[in-house]
Structure formats: C-alpha cells, structure tokens
C-alpha cells in the first residue's frame, strides 16, 4: 500500500474489530475498501444485500430497524454493520437508513471471509454464537493472574501434598514426637481404625508437655485435641482458608469418605495467596467492638481496587467481598450473644439479596432476616431478639452496610418471626401473588444461612421450594417480574440507546443488566426446584435440568460475568478517584471493544427474556 492511505488505515486500526488485525493485514486493508455516500434519510441497503458487505461508518449515523420497524440499533462513527456483524439475535430481518449524511467504507463479504480464516481474533467478532464472543471477551479482559482467584475454584484436595502422617492412640507422647520429627511435620493425626480421633501439633507439645513438664511416656491421648475440625476433600480451598481463619486453627485434616485424605496447613494456603481477604476475615473475628470492625470494613473499597487491578473474575470478587460481610455479620452476632446472653430459643440469621447470592461488590445495602424457633414466646423473648437484631443491624450500618431502604432487615419486627409465621408469609406470597409480594419474593427467595440453626433454615428453604415447584401461576408472575427491567439496545456515540430510540447519558448496570439476569436465573431455578442461590450456580442447574438450552444458560453466565467484571472495573475507578462507588456507567469510559461486547450481553439478556416471556405467555 502507498503511504497515502495511512489515514484510512489509522481509522480502521482505531476501531473494533479491525483493531484485532496484525499490522501487515491492516496495511493492506484500505486497498480492499469501497467508499459510499448516503444522504440523510435515505435507505442504505435493501434487506437482502446487507450481508454482502461489512460496513464501517466513517462519518455520519445509521439506524437499523426490524421488519416491524422497531429500532434495533443506532450506529455512529466507527461502528460496523452488515455481514455477519448483524447476525445477532433479534436482528435477522432489518433494514438500514442513514440518519445523517453518511460516508461508509464497505468491505466485500469474500474479503471478510478471507480475513476471518487467517485471523482468529478478528473472526470471533463475527461468530454467530454471541456466547463465543463474550467468552472470548472475558478471557481477553480478565487474565486470571491472581492466585487468590484460583483458590476459589480449586478443591482443597489439590493442596494435599502427601499421605497423611498418622499414629495410633496407643502411642506415647515420646513416640509421637519422634515420628513428627522423623517425618518433619508440625502436626500429626491420631487415628484408630482409619478414623480420625484427634490431632497433635508442635504447639501442643510445647504448651501441654514441655511447659507442664508432663511425662512423655503417657499416651498421646492425654495431650491431643479430640475430634478436631475437619473438612471434606471437595471443599474449595478458599472456604478452607476462611474456616481456618474463623476458628483460628493452623492445621486442617481433610477427609475423604470415611477416611483421612491428608492434612493442609495454613502455610500451604498462604503460599498460594497473599491477598488480604483471609486476614481481614480473621481480623474481624478478633475484634470486640464495632469501631475496630468498622476499620476493617473500611478497607473493602481498597480490596475491591486491588482485585480489580489483579483482574480477578467477577464471580471470585463477589464471593470474597461477601465472605467479609458474612464474617462481620457472624462476629456481630457473637458479640451480641456475649452481651445479651445465650438465645432463649434457637434462631437462624439469614442473608437475603446479593449477600445471599454471594454477589456483593463494593459495600451494599443490608438485606437480612431472622427466623426463630416456634418455641418463641413474644411476651417473654421479644426483647431479647429485638435487642439482638438491633445490635447487628446497627453494627452493619456502622460498617457501611447501610439500612435497607425497603426495611428488609431483621431489625424490622415483621422480618424477625418464628418459623410458622415465615411459612405463612411464603404461603401468602406464593398463593396470592401481587406486585408488592413479588418484590419481597425476589429478595427473600435468595436466602442463605449466615449464623445459627441449620435446621430452621433448612425447613423454611424447603418449604418455600416445595410450594413453588411446578406452581405455574406463581412462576408466571415471577416471570412477568423478571421482564420488568430491560437492558438498553446499545450505544450511539457517547449515549446509551434505549428502547423506543431515546438516549441516555448513562445506564444503570445493576438494574438494567444484572438484575434481569439474576431474575431470569431465579425464575428458572425455582421452576426447576433447585436450592441454588448464587446466580451462576442457578444457571448451571438450569442448564442441566433442561429449563433453558445449555447454550442459553452459558451465554447468560458469560454475559453476567462480563458485565460484573466491567462493573468492578468501573467501581474501582470511582474509588481510586475518591468518589463513592455506584452502578451508573457512561459510554465515555468504555472502549470500543467493551461497547461491542456489552451490546452482545444486552442482546443475550433480551433473547432470554423473550424466551421466558414466550414460555409463560407474557
């Protein structure tokens, strides 16, 4: 190419997907182009011929309409259409009109085909499966570098380095110590017939033997810790880490079936990560007053920034941030019980909303409730639980989890009730669905036990599931609710294009994109009778159960991961600039690459919403 076409080459290089081409291919590209001019308000192309070129808008603007004349997209300088770029759901039949005087560079389809054959990154843009593009976008956007991220998906069994070192309960302390030094381990498991009976650590030898001048010929059972805390081998490494932090232990036996798989130490885990989440959690459990916990909670924004810099996946960020909220909640409950005495009847503290789903980012509102044992007697016990809830909710508020504007908190009398009353609530919501109850169900159908009685939690969760399973009327109401928030259509220059062709400066990434996905996953997962609460988990279940096609579920997962990833980057940017984190994203801060993939994410959500609508005859 002559250097003269550099100007056109530079324009191509600045725009997606041409930015994906190597230098040599870019240099040749201008000589393949045809230039066309369209006067304002004229038709760009007949419906059938739109696919024969890839069109790139050099100046001007173009509107794309469906066969029913509904606006599908408004495109500006640097946007592409035609070819397979328009092979996106809902956009099969369309026609295009110049909205302004428009100069277009068009590339014949056979040349695009050739480029696609040679350049995979470029070809991804035209992939007819939106999900492929999104997956590619995620892997390009998030290079999973942080080892913390890996711990989230790594089962603890993979950190076990050797067969467990064990000794029989009949051994003496002396024999035990000798075996430990021979094997060069800092702890040993005491096992009888392959069953874990106890554990002895270096610290036990120091504190219980040497310091006490104990006879080393006594049996090891004199100094061991009986029935030590252990975890199953399929527990994720990250959960194990939290478990150790929470119980302040450094040696964790791992079980496999009825036997022992091995031992994992705090050192094994810290070798794999240095991020501060685990330290923050263990710090929280050491605090005795709210002021100190507040200090720890104040570090959450910094943590988010660090994770954003490390390009942690949105899913891991959600789990990590939520685990801190869980720790603060649990510690507040421990402190409350220390202050008020043990609870008169058993109860369970339940997280709702995003905390339940393990999907918190920067600090969120608090959504929680308490389920009390049916032995609860308001006349006698009301004060205790009111004080308890007040202590915890106030504490959470002080730590930055501000009071829920809808008052869906345990501090509200209505949401601090015995099991029977809760069952009544669910029965009413499910049997007589109306707008208010749907709002409540979308919060309380996402429930996770944080602290207290497992039995109470299981009962209410199973009751709710049982009542919804196969309940088409209720599910249809939920489906209708899931369609109430809609994603934008796309972007036009530095505006967000919404349904009907209007423009906005920003879009609410939470309400317009994330909430619809969360709602879709909830409806499908309830229809499938699944206990899953986390949205990605729900979508997995839904895909397996055939509620939606596995491609559909996959695409939604990718859309969610991508959009949440962008949200984290957005919030981190705000935090770094000293501003409060919010959910309002402006196209100004999005690259061409991100905009294109956001459009994909929007279209995935719309497609799945349409599918749901058809299924429940909306």
């Amino acid at each position: 190419m002559d250097i003269e076409l550099l100007e056109i080459r530079d324009f191509l290089a600045a725009n997606h997907p041409f930015d994906q081409l190597p230098e040599a291919a870019l240099a040749e590209l201008p000589t393949m182009l045809q230039v066309r001019y369209f006067r304002r308000d004229t038709m760009i192309s007949e419906i059938n011929s739109l696919e024969s070129y890839l069109y790139l808008i050099r100046t001007g603007a173009v509107e794309m309409f469906s066969a029913e004349n509904e606006i599908l997209a408004r495109l500006g300088e640097g946007d592409v259409f035609g070819y397979r770029a328009s092979h996106r759901p809902n956009q099969v039949e369309h026609h295009c009109t110049a909205l302004e005087d428009t100069l277009i560079y068009q590339l014949p389809a056979q040349d695009v085909d050739k480029l696609c054959e040679k350049h995979t990154q470029f070809a991804y843009f035209f992939s007819s499966v939106v999900g492929d593009r999104l997956r590619d976008a995620i892997s390009q956007a998030t290079q999973v570098t942080s080892s913390q991220v890996n711990l989230i998906t790594t089962p603890i069994s993979e950190l076990i380095k050797r067969e467990p070192i064990t000794i029989s309960p009949s051994a003496t302390i002396h024999e035990t110590a000798r075996k430990m030094s021979e094997e060069r381990v800092s702890s040993i498991l005491v096992c009888a017939q392959g069953q874990l009976a106890g554990i002895v650590t270096d610290r036990d030898l120091r504190n219980r033997v040497v310091a006490e001048a104990l006879d080393v010929n006594l049996p090891v059972t004199e100094i061991m810790t009986f029935n030590p805390s252990s975890l199953k081998e399929d527990t994720f490494a990250f959960q194990a880490q939290l478990h150790m932090a929470r119980h302040n232990i450094h040696h964790l036996p791992i079980t496999r079936g009825d036997g022992i798989a091995g031992m994992v130490t705090a050192t094994d885990l810290t070798k794999h990560q240095t991020t501060s989440v685990v330290y923050m959690v263990s710090d929280i459990y050491k605090q005795n007053n709210i002021e100190r916990m507040q200090e720890v909670a104040n570090q959450i924004p910094d943590l988010l920034v660090n994770m954003a810099v490390a390009e942690a996946s949105a899913d891991s960020v959600g789990h990590l941030i939520t685990s801190i909220t869980d720790a603060i909640t649990s510690r507040l409950l421990q402190l409350a019980e220390e202050r008020l005495g043990p609870p008169p009847v058993s109860y369970v503290w339940v997280a709702a909303g995003s905390q339940a789903r393990n999907e918190q980012t920067a600090k969120s509102d608090q959504d929680n409730c308490m389920i009390l044992d049916d032995a609860y007697n308001p006349g006698v016990h009301a004060d205790y639980f009111r004080e308890l809830a007040k202590f915890v909710c106030d504490g959470l508020n002080a730590c930055g989890y501000v009071y829920c504007p809808g008052e869906m908190m345990a501090i509200t009398d209505k949401w601090r009730q015995p099991l029977a009353v809760w069952k009544g609530y669910f029965a009413k919501w499910i049997d007589q669905p109306e707008p208010m109850s749907l709002m409540l169900t979308s919060v309380f159908f996402d429930m996770r036990r944080v602290y207290g009685s497992r039995k109470l939690f299981r009962e209410i969760a199973e009751y709710a599931l049982e009542k919804t399973r196969g309940n088409r009327i209720f599910l249809a109401f939920m489906a209708g609710n899931a369609l109430s928030h809609q994603p934008p259509i796309g972007f036009f220059r530095n505006f967000v294009l919404i349904k009907g062709g209007e423009h906005n400066q920003t879009f609410d990434v939470k309400h317009n994109v994330i909430v619809p996905i969360v709602d879709l996953a909830r409806v499908y997962s309830l229809a499938a009778g699944s206990k899953a609460v986390n949205t990605l988990d729900r979508l997995d279940v839904v895909a397996e159960g055939g509620e939606v096609t596995s491609e559909g579920a996959h695409d939604l997962k990718d859309a969610l991961e991508f959009i949440c990833y962008l949200r984290i980057q957005h919030q981190a940017r705000l935090i770094k600039a000293g501003e409060p984190a919010d959910n309002f994203m402006s196209p100004d801060h999005l690259s061409h690459f991100e905009r294109n993939h956001l459009k994909d994410a929007f279209s995935v959500v719309r497609t799945m919403q349409n599918t749901l609508g058809q299924r429940y005859k909306m």
């Binding site: 230039v35 001019y37 005087d101 100069l103």
Partner: protein, 233 residues
C-alpha cells in the same frame, strides 16, 4: 481552442483527431468507448483524479505525482486506486515543495512522465474524469499529451468545484471566499477531514465529494444524466 468546444461535440472532435493520430497509448485511449451524455449518471464509470505539480502555470510547470480512484455503481473503489510519481525535467521550486512535500531526491527516483502516462491513460479509458477544479488536471494532462503524443487529451469532465457553484446558485446562497475549497465543501456534506496535498488522498476526497453532490442534486422528473453534471462533453 474553446470555440471548438462550442462548435463540435466531444465525439466529433474525437473522430477528427483519430483520423490522423498514430498508434500509441493516446490512440488506444481515444478508441475506447466514451460515455454518452444522455446516460443515467449512475451507469457511468468515473475516475477521480488529482495531480501534484511544480506550480499552477500549465505551460511551464510539470506533473510530479498522479493519484486516482475509479467510481463504479456509486461506489469509490480503493482496490483499483493508484498513485505514482513522475520525474520533472526541472528542479522542484521550493514554493511547491512546501505544499506537496515531494522533494527533488524523491522525484529523481521516479520515472519520466512519458513512461507513466500510458498507465493513467489506460485507467481513463471509457471513464469520465472527476476532479476538484478540474481545469488544472485537464489542461496539465492535455499539455502533456500534446508534448508527448502530438495531440491533446479530451474527455467528458466533471468538476466538483463547478458542481458546488451550481448548487450554491440553485439555493441562492452567496459564495464567500474559501467556500469552494475542497476541504470546506466536504465539511458541508459531513465528509471526514483528510490531510490535503497528496494526489491520491485528494483524488479520493474529490471522488467522495462527487458522490455526495450527486445524491444532493434536486430530485427531477427525469433521472440525473451525465450531461447534467459535466462541464465538458
């Protein structure tokens, strides 16, 4: 010269010259089919052309570089665009070098005009010449042909500057200084800003402007014909 244009149309003049013209690139060009004035403008092929020259005196100055791109089916084809230099006989005056950036060193590596001209004439076959202020290209080209082949160059010509003047007049708009410059005219049609004074980019710029102007001509009962847009037919 100009009286000829009024007395004889393009085909008559072409036939006149052809009677005596020897074999060669210019004769081959003359023998190609010239677009007829009554053709729908969309059915005609064009060549958007621009020269960079050592100055504006058609009798003294020389062509330094040639850039062009054909237009077919309302679409400017960059795949058939071309750009090349020609070596001037005399040194390049500084006053022009500062405009087009072509220095003696660069130009001395190029081939003389008589060697590159056939390439341009081949590309012009059966096409209408399009240029902004087309008199420059037309006259430089005609002079070159006269010098090299002994006969003038003739072609149907569209001058985007002249079209712009007509558009101003038809809208009763006063023309202010600079309004007719290529870059100024392009802005009115929402065309992008290109760097000026490179023969190929200027040719493309003129070609795009031409496409824009044609889509902006007032809708008439009859479709726009070639004769409605040419300055020389």
């Amino acid at each position: 010269m100009s009286i000829w244009k009024f007395l004889f149309n393009l085909d008559e003049r072409r036939n006149w010259y052809l009677r005596r013209m020897p074999m060669g690139p210019l004769r081959e060009y003359y023998e190609s089919t010239f677009p007829t004035p009554d053709t729908d403008w969309r059915q005609v092929e064009y060549l958007a052309l621009d020269f960079e020259t050592t100055g504006l005196d058609k009798d003294r100055d020389e062509i330094l570089s040639i850039g062009y791109a054909p237009i077919r089916g309302q679409s400017l084809r960059l795949s058939e665009a071309d750009h090349f230099l020609s070596r001037p006989v005399r040194a390049i005056p500084e006053s022009s070098a500062v405009i087009h950036g072509i220095m003696d060193d660069t130009a001395s590596g190029a081939r003389p005009l008589e060697e590159v001209l056939p390439r341009l004439l081949k590309s012009l076959e059966s096409k209408v010449l399009v240029a902004h202020h087309a008199a420059v290209e037309y006259e430089f080209l005609s002079n070159a042909c006269r010098r090299i082949y002994g006969y003038p160059f003739i072609a149907p010509v569209v001058d985007t500057l002249a079209l712009e003047v007509r558009i101003f007049r038809s809208m009763d708009k006063p023309i202010r200084s600079g309004d007719l410059r290529l870059d100024k005219a392009r802005v009115r049609y929402n065309l992008p800003r290109y760097p000026a004074h490179n023969a190929l980019i200027d040719a493309i710029a003129a070609g795009e402007l031409f496409l824009a102007q044609c889509t902006y001509r007032k809708r008439r009962k009859r479709a726009l014909r070639l004769r409605d847009i040419t300055v020389i037919t």
